[in-house]
Symmetry: none
Subunit: 207 residues, 2 copies
């Protein structure tokens, strides 16, 4: 049985190249190729692909959202993300959303076919560099940036509440201290983490 593949890629030349690649192989059947993923769920329902190739950066509705929807409705369909960039954050979110693998567009045709085969067989193909990023997100993170360790108990608490989205006022209320004190803690935090805003501090805090 040939593997049924559908493609979502807004770049037309690339979409056609991928389509040709799939079509020319006996072991693969191209069931659809689209320039956007607005109706990915409907299309997946009627075309019944085994594997979906999805560009991560599509106009209108981006690939990550599409993956979220697809994964919820068709957990058995494997989604391979395509991207030009080696963009950590989006890779991470795509994988969280349920993507099964991740390919850079510069991947060779042979590797793409291999990846489709592999994901269909229950694997999760990704380039070594992406794999590295993925495993770096593991709990291991002992490298804690050292800066974080310098925060006192109170400062950490303040930062935690801020990360939850609370304002100074609410943090103060939560910790039963004055807003001014919260300010002071935050000033120290900024000095220690070498940042200048709440969001930066949180970004650093999150690793």
């Amino acid at each position: 049985m040939a593997i049924r593949v559908s493609i979502y890629e807004d770049n037309q030349p690339l979409r056609e190249a991928l389509s040709a690649l799939i079509t020319d192989e006996d072991d693969y059947t191209l069931v659809g190729a689209f320039g956007d993923c607005l109706h990915a769920n409907d299309q997946t329902y009627s075309l019944q692909p085994d594997v979906v190739l999805m560009d991560i950066d599509l106009p209108g509705r981006d690939g990550i959202q599409a993956v979220t929807g697809l994964h919820r409705e068709f957990p058995n369909v494997d989604v391979l993300m395509l991207t030009v960039f080696d963009d950590d954050d989006r890779v991470f979110r795509a994988l969280c959303a349920g993507a099964s693998g991740y390919l850079l567009k510069q991947t060779t045709p042979d590797q793409i076919l291999e990846a489709i085969q592999s994901v269909y067989a229950g694997g999760a193909p990704m380039t070594p560099s992406i794999a590295r990023k993925v495993i770096q997100t593991f709990p291991a993170r002992i490298g804690h940036s050292a800066d974080l360790d310098q925060l006192t108990t109170r400062e950490s608490q303040v930062l935690q509440y801020l990360a939850k989205g609370l304002s100074y006022k609410l943090v103060a209320a939560e910790l039963n201290i004055s807003v001014e004190t919260v300010r002071t803690h935050i000033k120290r935090i900024y000095e220690k983490l070498h940042v200048h805003s709440v969001t930066e501090a949180i970004a650093k805090y999150r690793g």
Copy 2:
């Protein structure tokens, strides 16, 4: 510069085979080969390898513990795990402990060299089946609050950059749009997510 490699493998014939493989290649230098990992840290300190090949199943002290120690003391040294079996669970734990990739012992010599090269270049070689296991550990944020899906591509991008700690001004620069436009996007984001500040939005965005 040749890549400095050390080996930990209790099976003598295999250890010798690996040693020979490394030694025979000009681009690799074998700096040590041992039957146990009891003194892995000391040895790593004195031999200064770039890449360590570590059997996952060593007598006395197993490879995973060794990785934990190595990774803490020498975060720049890459560790490749070796295993006979496609033992998901242990490979998985090794990766958590800080290993950078893993190889089946049945891997061909060429592939082994390639993997060493790849890990040294910042990659994380692993088979698709392990990779799949790895990504399945990702937070399967399914409840995604549905609010998030309502964000348009542009809005998501803005929020992403904010989450990285950038100010409006920097986000604008990053996306090549005016600060005012960033403001507008943020206003929409707030409406859709029902929040009133950047940090709240990020908190919601992070799940």
